[in-house]
Amino acid sequence: MTWVKPFIAIILFYFSAVLQNSFFAHFVFLGASLNLVFIFFFLFVFFEKQAEYFLPFLYAIIGGFFSDVFSPVSLGISIILFIIIAFLIKKIQSLLKEEKDNYPLIYFSPLFLLSFASYSLLFQAFLFPPTFQNITLRFDWSFIIEIIYNSLFAILIFYIYKRYIKLNDDNRQLNLFFNK
């Protein structure tokens, strides 16, 4: 059943990319737009088992690909950035203290803020023409607003995911364990 998650990821990332470029294009606040692909990519990686590296790597390739297809950069830029971010998230998660709840908001929020800000800045460097100085253009109010806007949306989806999807997933695993 390991193919189910990547398959869902392909569908979800594709429609997220289409939606963020069409429907959510009308919901730009003070220059800040929504990056749905990144939000879903982050959630998928964050909620994956701590020792699991293969699936986050796969999510990074799928998410990065769709992000690049619908953006004005060369194919591959987001794939590389997503892979680095996925690796760092899993590494940081493995360093964090093991608790009963492995996925608290107190871990999620700063990790998301840090990852999103890093991605936005590095992605900016590859925009026309690609120079590292492009990053300096990103430092303005719209950057902060964009981080807050995306974080709020991410937290909302985080709760939905944790409340409904993760809970059901865990229950199913428990049932399988007990039925064994």
């Binding site: 470029n21 294009a25 009308h26 730009v28 004005p72 590389i80 925009l127």
Partner: protein, 278 residues
């Protein structure tokens, strides 16, 4: 220790091979980048167009609620704008020369021998870049100007695929266009002031590189000056809303309210045969 070293020795080559494979994949992807992107845009076009229209309707319904705090300011601004427009109407009626910037695009095309391709917006890629539904198969090339029916500048083509293109809006942070102030009938000796409109991101623009000794006024209309050889002259760009002058700096800047509006733009035109006279 030996176990650790041997494990480390196997991990490093694996990572190295992985990185090399990844770099190769990325490079090979870039060779087919236009074809891949074009394929996905063709495949996604119906859904993207539907969602774009749906988003337009939803944002139209929600905008009064979202902008509720700005209503008082907006009302005040509209009153002022209305007064300005009334005075402009009387000026335009008295002097036909002044209305040349407010032209009908089709008439101008005929007049200036421009040919244009009508396009629709199918998406916004963030970073002030929009996607349109025509590409190289419709005769579109890089750096062609994109305007609307009223001759308002939106931007220029900067990426072309077979069936669609990407337009860099003038509000993109990498966009710079040469502009001049529109001659005003109120002035006895009208003087054109030249400058550059730069993108500020988030659909906002500002005027720069205007010498401090030049007298800018709030409400001045900016039009293209065609110095950069991409845009035809006298296309509408925006209106000066606030002047930022500092005698210690050689140039003054000004906040500009752009005329273009992505949300309400149904059809745009790509001028396909504009060539600057040498």
């Amino acid at each position: 220790m030996n176990v650790f070293l041997s494990k480390r020795n196997t991990v490093f080559p694996k990572i190295l091979v992985g990185v090399i494979i990844l770099i190769l994949i990325v490079f090979s992807l870039n060779n087919f980048s236009p074809q891949i992107k074009n394929y996905f845009y063709i495949f996604s076009y119906p859904a993207q167009k539907t969602f774009f229209t749906a988003g337009e309707s939803v944002s139209g319904i929600l905008s009064p609620f979202l902008n509720i705090f700005n209503l008082a300011n907006e009302n005040e601004n509209l009153k002022k704008e209305n007064q300005n427009l009334l005075s402009q109407i009387s000026l335009l009626a008295s002097d036909k020369k002044e209305n040349r910037a407010f032209f009908d695009f089709s008439a101008t095309c005929e007049d200036k021998n421009f040919t244009a391709v009508m396009v629709s917006i199918i998406g916004l890629d963030g970073q002030d870049v929009i996607s349109i539904d025509k590409g190289s198969s419709d005769g579109i090339l890089e750096n062609m100007p994109v305007v609307n029916q009223q001759g308002i500048v939106f931007g220029k083509i900067f990426e072309v695929y077979k069936n669609f293109s990407k337009v860099m809006l003038i509000s993109n942070k990498n966009s710079v266009i040469d502009v001049k102030t529109q001659k005003n009938g109120e002035d006895l000796l009208p003087v054109e002031i030249n400058g550059a409109v730069k993108g500020n991101g988030g659909f906002s623009i500002f005027l720069d590189l205007v010498p401090v000794d030049q007298e800018l006024k709030e409400g001045d209309i900016l039009v293209t000056s065609s110095l950069e050889k991409i845009f035809p002259k006298d296309l509408l760009v925006g209106k000066i809303t606030r002047i930022e002058k500092n005698d210690q700096k050689p140039f003054q800047q000004a906040q500009v309210e752009p005329f273009f509006e992505v949300k309400n733009a149904d059809n745009l035109f790509v001028i396909t045969n504009y060539k600057q006279e040498e």
